[in-house]
């Protein structure tokens, strides 16, 4: 209703600078810590591939339905993110416990033979991130000072 208003010289300068900036927009990764292992590398996928994360993918309940291998992958490859935090929570709910010295997840294979103030000893399953598989360890001493 008010009709156009001629742009000022300053407006034209602003448009010119905006136009230039438009060709190098900020990228979401500019606001994120560097991802040493899984940097964002957007690549076009067929449209019939899921383009969106499943609904409520950022809830503990969702993570609890993931396999333990998936949780271990998320834990070690998405370090420092909410995904790692949720994976750790889901693992703990499945009685895995993080050994802060070996930096591996352990789960009791049976009731420990010995339990003292400072440690417990028995047979454990643990996830070996170097060999990327679960392994059994008998006669292992889990010192509580290394329990997260």
């Amino acid at each position: 209703p008010l009709g156009p208003v001629p742009l000022s010289r300053e407006n034209f300068y602003q448009l010119q600078m905006l136009e230039a900036a438009y060709h190098h927009l900020p990228h979401p990764s500019d606001s994120e810590r560097q991802r040493s292992f899984l940097p964002r590398n957007p690549c076009p996928t067929p449209s019939y591939y899921p383009q969106l994360p499943p609904p409520s993918a950022d809830s503990v309940e969702f993570f609890q339905r993931l396999s333990t291998e998936t949780l271990f992958f998320i834990f070690y490859y998405m370090e420092g993110t909410k995904a790692q935090y949720l994976a750790a929570k889901a693992l703990k709910k499945q009685s895995w416990r993080f050994h802060t010295r070996y930096m591996m997840w352990f789960q009791r294979h049976e009731e420990p033979k010995t339990i003292t103030e400072d440690y417990e000893q028995g047979t454990y399953i643990y996830f070996d991130y170097e060999k990327w598989c679960q392994r059994k360890k008998e006669g292992f001493t889990f010192e509580y000072r290394y329990l997260e």
Binding site: L38, L52, K82
Partner: protein, 47 residues
Amino acid sequence: PGIDLTTLGLNLNSPENLYSTFQSPWVDLPCRPQDIDYHVPTEYLTN
């Protein structure tokens, strides 16, 4: 007529708040959990 604001990639019916997964004004997708920096216990920084 303006823009159909439901097409800007925001789940306006979400019971959760939107800002905590808001990715960018130029992107019509929310952040995924692996996009969100989190102050995890330092023991988790295994790399």
